[in-house]
Symmetry: C2
Subunit: 242 residues, 2 copies
């Protein structure tokens, strides 16, 4: 879907803070920084203040955690791989043994980061935008609040080279800081997933490196990038759920 | 669209580096960090190394620049606003006066950051994923390489509160570092857009604050969040392109 800027062809005549745009609804909105009310030199000074040699961990990764990686694998293949949840068992550090639950679309597996810990997962994808969102939670599948927002972007468009850029964003849901259902923990000394939030930048970087290694090894080696799910049993063939 | 992990119900039995997953295609892929080959304590140590008190600007914003903002405005309204390109004239610092070109979906306006500079823009959106990608370029509209990848995420899902999280990612296309068409510059001393890359974190933060201020002012004030495009002429009503 392509949507154009829908402004009419008539150029406006910038007339300062009381110019046409202000008349049309920006009057009274405090805090706007626009060329009509801010000299570019003032903006430059503000940007210089905001730009620092370095940024504290909490400032960059405290509330949101986004990482990016270039992968030498075509976006359609990378997306096809990422969207299939069983591949989590390949590229994540510790998610394994997914199986369907009684609820359509909801799967449950083990997060081997903590012994006896079950992780529930539903995958929401959009082929056109190439978004892949993993809606997960530990211990229960009623409210999936650990959401891994990923997207495969054609590197041709954004980096002028073949392959994909994969972005991965997590937001610090309040349940990271307070387990809403401690009664569901498999054991009283099991660490809560939120204890790992400050390591998400690092941990996800390791996992995204896994993803890159797998996709590039297979694509550059001429192998199929996606693999079938594990067989349901020794005597049966691969079970494909979709 | 919802896609489930498609792994079968049979639990695998982890058997170390030569276990089932390796047999199924990970053998020979170097550099994988997985629970089968890496003790969690080793991963923890690696994550501790990767996690630092602070990160240099170039490391965080040098190649990719993602910023995030919570906005107290429902995701459908925030998305409807963002996807309409004429609103760029409200929330950006310096994009103004968009008008259609002869090419369907391609618009051209002024980037008042630099005098006499034209910016071409096409907006690609996806209502289901709520992605809004602005494909832009200065000076010419044949190759739109300045791509602003944005997404509106329901805060209810990721932060357990009403409203939206808006993410905004730019990737450092090589043209930022070398103008491929210096002959199209309107004047010989016009600064190139790539000269601003290192200020994108700051500049986009200012613009995302504009976006938040506008959306919250209107939503919380009970006003329509979106506004019609500027009138095409004094005697005509608002022109809506979509």
């Amino acid at each position: 879907m392509s949507v154009a800027p829908s402004t009419s062809a008539e150029p406006s005549h910038l007339t300062g803070p009381s110019g046409p745009t202000e008349v049309r609804g920006l009057t009274g909105i405090p805090g706007l920084t626009r060329v009509e009310n801010t000299d570019p030199a003032v903006l430059a000074a503000r940007c210089a203040e905001l730009t620092r040699p370095a940024y504290p961990h909490q400032e960059v990764y405290g509330r949101y955690c986004t990482i990016h990686e270039y992968v030498d694998c075509p976006p359609d293949e990378a997306y096809a791989y990422l969207r299939q949840g069983h591949h989590l068992e390949e590229w994540t550090f510790s998610l394994r043994n997914f199986a369907p639950t009684g609820t359509a679309g909801l799967w449950v597996g083990d997060d081997l980061l903590e012994a006896q810990t079950r992780i529930y997962c539903r995958v929401e994808t959009n082929a056109e935008a190439r978004t892949v969102d993993f809606h997960c939670s530990w211990d229960q599948g009623e409210k999936l609040w650990m959401i891994y927002l990923m997207r495969v972007v054609p590197a041709e468009l954004v980096l002028d080279r073949p392959g994909s850029v994969i972005t991965w964003t997590n937001c610090r849901h309040p349940f990271y800081d307070a387990n809403p259902r401690p009664d569901l923990a498999p054991r009283s000394d099991r660490a809560w997933v939120g204890a790992y939030w400050d390591l998400f930048y690092a941990g996800h970087t390791v996992e995204l490196a896994n993803l890159k290694a797998i996709l590039e090894h297979r694509h550059l080696g001429g192998l199929p990038v996606s693999v079938p799910p594990r067989p349901a049993g020794a005597a049966t063939g691969p079970a494909v759920a979709q």
